[in-house]
Symmetry: C2
Subunit: 583 residues, 2 copies
Amino acid sequence: MYRTNHCGELNIQDIGKEVSLCGWIQRSRDLGGMTFVDLRDRYGITQLVFNMETHPALCEEIRGLGREFVIQVQGKVAERSNKNSKMSTGDIEINAEKVEILNPSKTPPFTIEDQSDGGEELRMKYRYLDLRRNILRKNIELRYLVSRETRNYLDAQKFMEIETPVLIKSTPEGARDFVVPSRMNPGEFYALPQSPQTFKQLLMVAGFDKYFQLVKCFRDEDLRADRQPEFTQIDCEMSFVTQEDILKTFEGLAVHLFKNVKKIEMGSFPRMSYADAMKYYGNDKPDIRFDMKFVDLKEVSKGKSFKVFDDAESVLAICVKGCAEYTRKQLDELTDFVKRPQLGASGMVYARVNMDGSIKSSVDKFYDENDLKIWAEKCDAQNGDLILILAGKDSTCRKALSELRLEMGMRLGLRKSDVFAPLWVTDFPLLEFNEEGNRWHAMHHPFTSPNIEDIPLLDSNPGAVRAIAYDMVINGVEVGGGSIRIHNKELQKKMLKILGFSDEDASAQFGFLMNAFEYGAPPHGGLALGFDRLCALIGEADNIRDFIAFPKNNSGRDMMIDAPSSISLEQLKELGIELKKNE
Amino acid sequence: MYRTNHCGELNIQDIGKEVSLCGWIQRSRDLGGMTFVDLRDRYGITQLVFNMETHPALCEEIRGLGREFVIQVQGKVAERSNKNSKMSTGDIEINAEKVEILNPSKTPPFTIEDQSDGGEELRMKYRYLDLRRNILRKNIELRYLVSRETRNYLDAQKFMEIETPVLIKSTPEGARDFVVPSRMNPGEFYALPQSPQTFKQLLMVAGFDKYFQLVKCFRDEDLRADRQPEFTQIDCEMSFVTQEDILKTFEGLAVHLFKNVKKIEMGSFPRMSYADAMKYYGNDKPDIRFDMKFVDLKEVSKGKSFKVFDDAESVLAICVKGCAEYTRKQLDELTDFVKRPQLGASGMVYARVNMDGSIKSSVDKFYDENDLKIWAEKCDAQNGDLILILAGKDSTCRKALSELRLEMGMRLGLRKSDVFAPLWVTDFPLLEFNEEGNRWHAMHHPFTSPNIEDIPLLDSNPGAVRAIAYDMVINGVEVGGGSIRIHNKELQKKMLKILGFSDEDASAQFGFLMNAFEYGAPPHGGLALGFDRLCALIGEADNIRDFIAFPKNNSGRDMMIDAPSSISLEQLKELGIELKKNE
């Protein structure tokens, strides 16, 4: 036995006990007659005392050991004269009597502290050292806690976790599929799942009623900062349910998680239609930690010879509380912000509602004080507020104003990471038109049920058909989404046809699912939550990599093990493939 | 809302309630004035009654519906006149008042009953229907229960579940790796893990202390009946532990699982060295539900001019209780059994200890009654017992006798699937010599620590070095195994050298791990249990496919979705690979 206790548990009750501890040397302070060592393990830190007078050799030995050495120490628990109330073990220390070096350590390439001096590349290469840092260890612990509480909640709700296969079938639609050559079936490939969608639906057909899985999914795509080629989902599906049943169940999950992991009581989730989200926030995942809704000034601004507004499809404003004093420079910054190519607004108009009630705008040439008063009223602007206005093509205008709103929320400190504002966004459109491909795409996925009332519109006006689809949004982050699924073969066939599948393709790719629908498929629906993202959100952080034990970088590369890498010609040969020659 | 209750919960307390149920029509019995329908869901079966007198139209309608139709029914709970105490809902029935057909069903291609009339191929193609059968549903439920109780136990023991990556690095050693071409890194490949071995060791280096994961692993090899290309492990690792700590912890897990899933109290596990297992059972995973140990007759049989025994490296016997009356035909069968090419014994000798105490053998020409008495004594054979003897090369002889022992155990009904005999097998050899490759192989894996006492033998007599490695064996099934790992860079390097790695290869493949050992790696060890196999064992079945929701067949093919399959030239091109032309 290496240890009697770990480094986070000894306290005043244990005084006098002979103990044995193991851990890493976090730091060591030599005070002449005494040397103090902080011994660290996953559970905490315990102070060791080496006494030069009583144990001179031991004391000498310990002085020779550097940070991150792994030692085993035996000694007696004693009360500290100098207590540290911030530590669970802060009342005691160990008078060391014997030490064994279990493994020495070279000097780490960066400091194992909350604020490390290592750059991200270096830390990813030495991930096993980076993970020793408190902040990362706590993230991984939080991730485990979230997974555990997710399972506890869903188990109590009678969900069963069922594993679906990782080696599945590639589909031509799956342009972002990772594929896996099969040695036993030369020339053939498996694909890694982008989600277990069809399998969970088949589990419903099989009668499992309530399924969940914390499951790895895979997507081979250019990685944005917050994406990983492999990611984890909380994947769920239920039978004999309406949208209402699903929203209640998973609102319950979120409430349970925040309560049990964060000790935060969340109220019930407000709901907002997709149409309203776009109308008031220009965004299908609004951050409702703060208000600052869009106000439509089109009607009240027209006919005053201001061509920019008159010609614009939309004239939209937000009212920023207490910012009437913004300087010219600040306003110019905001104008530059919305004019960036990725937002593409052509300019920004402002109106200051001064403390004396007077209003001053950048378009005073066209609008007199009375006109501006009407704007202020529509915007519910008080003295001291700043009105920011964008005009132009509706979609551009909403997108840019949405970003401007988030920027202002940030500047005003309205987006606190420890405040959580959840929301269901519902009634998404079923389809969106892809100009490039000149065809309809499924906004959620091809298995999503249209709103039953809207089915007649599938032929006449597909763009107007609402889906029974919903997203869970927290603090402007899309935590997950789902839908009620189609469970009727004919409707599924029609849907695939609208999406441009030939009967042949539809049958080759989804024949097994459509056939399954003919053998008593129950009505069903579900959702999937992005687990990595959810953990980062609960952990009040932005970077999901910090919540993954061994993440890949933005090129999809594991810096530590150096993967992907080349493989031998022999391996390629056995798999029946070869690398494409450069042409 | 589709339903007020599920089909497994209504009982005598609920009489008079208006309820709504959903499910599948399991069967329907038309008794003229009444039609009885068994409505099935995951939770149970509830009897519906349709009354021709009071609801003639409804009754007509229900008579038109076939098996596996999905319906929603409303009605009132009533007490049954004809109670069925075998069913949880057997005291009540529902007087149906309204029915809605949620989805019709074609006639399934096989019957959804415990004994189905469908062959395995057909049932795998329609897996979603096969999974509706009670027996498979219960297997999947049991699998979930085992996973849940595994997590509960390990959580209580302070283990944390941490996800390790699925897209890792291929190694030349990994001849059975599945590989995944990377679109973003053309010409480079990820590999799917055969186990998370190096990652869990790095988690120990990172200080996580106790790690577990229920994790998918992958192996691209010819599939035996009980192997799958993707399989699930309960993977664990601990720091600052001896073998004893690990055995206790996971013996505790097994005890917990059998208690909570099977309501079986398992005692503590006996332990047996690898050497004893081979000596007494000819097998490193002995089935100790029954005794029938090997008895060495070499010494007592020599010098009697029976050349077969005199020339043999080993002469080994088992004593089969109460089988002295075996007929000539039965004995010939057993002889044929051991002479099969895969066992390769050259023949079998027997000796019957008759009820009158006389002994009759097939080698009476060479051994007189006194000689045979000595055999019987050594074998502890009583009147009525049968002694079976094999002779020849030691390894062949042990292997064949081990199989014969299992066969006799089977014939005598000593291998009951509801009796569980667990065992730790310890002290495995570290290395085994591979004649073909003319080099040493790691018996467990290259990261296994040699027994510290035996380290000096690494150079002089590698074959004699014992590993600190152990297997959990239950009923002759290797449920899992593990080892204490090497945590010292130099020892790891030496080990890899013995295994034939050049310094360069060792560093290219395992450099990250050996480097990690230089930064304060704690002593650590762990084990992995085969989850699919464990579930089958607990479920008292042989076929692991029956415990996997969507298994692959023996060619690694998913019959339902038809994977693997060919992919498009466009996909291949994007991945920078092409199919090898036939030469």
